[in-house]
């Protein structure tokens, strides 16, 4: 399953690493929008398969941040 950005912003940090197991609602990344830090949460349980972006990247709505299996 894909983790997508809910709003345009800049990636501040990726808070998990590939291969890590996550549960639904775990924090997986932090983006900055309108000078505010916004946490992105895992939509479901699984293992982080691939991280698509890094800190500093600019994202649009619905860009894929990472893929969870």
């Amino acid at each position: 399953m894909e983790v997508v950005t809910p709003m345009p912003g800049t990636v501040l940090s990726i808070d998990v690493s590939e291969g890590q197991k996550v549960n639904a609602n775990d924090e997986v990344a932090t983006i900055e929008a309108m000078k505010m830090e916004v946490k992105i949460y895992a939509p479901g349980n699984g293992t982080i398969k691939e991280i698509k972006v890094g800190p500093g990247d600019t994202l649009n709505v619905n860009d894929v941040v990472m893929i969870i299996e």
Partner: protein, 372 residues
Amino acid sequence: MQEQIAKNLADMGVFHLTAGNLVMWLVAFGLFYLAIKKQIEPLLLIPIGFGIFIANFPLTGLLGEHGLFEIFYKYGISNELIPPLIFLGLGAMTDFGPVLANPKTFLLGAAAQLGVYGAFFAALLLGFTLPEAAAVGIIGGADGPTSIFLSNALAPHLLGAVAVAAYSYMALVPIIIPPVARALTTKQERSIVMTQMRVVSKGEKIVFPLLGCIVIISLVPKSAPLIAMFMLGNLFMECGVVERLTDVSRNAMMNIVTILLGLGVGSRMTAETFLRLDTIGVFIIGIVAFTIACAGGVLMAKFMNICSKNKINPLIGAAGVSAVPMAARVVHMMGAKENPQNYLLMHAMGPNVAGVIGTAVCAGALISALTG
């Protein structure tokens, strides 16, 4: 000889300081404290506070005919130059994407202007004259430059109080919005997750400022100074070919005029003009205005939910009070409290920027109604 000494002493400001001057210094120091220690609107409160501080020294001549502060005031505020320049900068920072993605949110920004009219009538009841009531009511729009623009046009003697009330309440948005919005919504409503916004094309964003001018300026011509400059700034940003103009509008020029505006506004706040009962009235009505504005937006959102299937989270209505982007952030945090995966920030930006436009339109309408 003795006469000379007496005259020299008499020329020293210290002997002319009044108790009122000292009270105004305390007001200025209070603003410094908020700005430096609490980091509340420091860019505005430092110059305003310093303007107040210096304006309350006797015998400086700064407010005389050719006085420095008088020049800032006369050629920056009194002739209504600076507020539109600030709007140019704001336009160059404002992304209309969220409004265009969901144009319904324009109604929420408009509903929040109820605060302006509610406060207007409250001020009339308290005995303010019509133009004064309009100047005080505009505080409910939560927009600094617009408040200054309008109060200068209609009731210049209240300018200092109106400006400081507007900026103080804007700084208090995180404290004012949550209780009002919570009281008017159920937990269920606050948890409404809004659907993904559509992506707005570049073409739409370029057409919008032009279309906005056509609609707004032809309907409310007196709003032209603010709206035209705002839309020009927005066009700079969205057209993508005048990066340098966008940059100078939102950064360098904005900073320069902010200094002049702050000093000009602060200098209006001498003991004689500020330490009056009117000022207390302005502050009381200001908070009433904010509360009504916030409630108006939320209730409008609830009303729209009755009529439409695509539910909106009524919290975003509260962002219609302008105070960009603070109000939108507060709304976002309230939504996230109910459901951490609910991202209201961008949805709230819609009513938020619509609120700015709404307040400017309101100001134009009040000016034309009251100056004829």
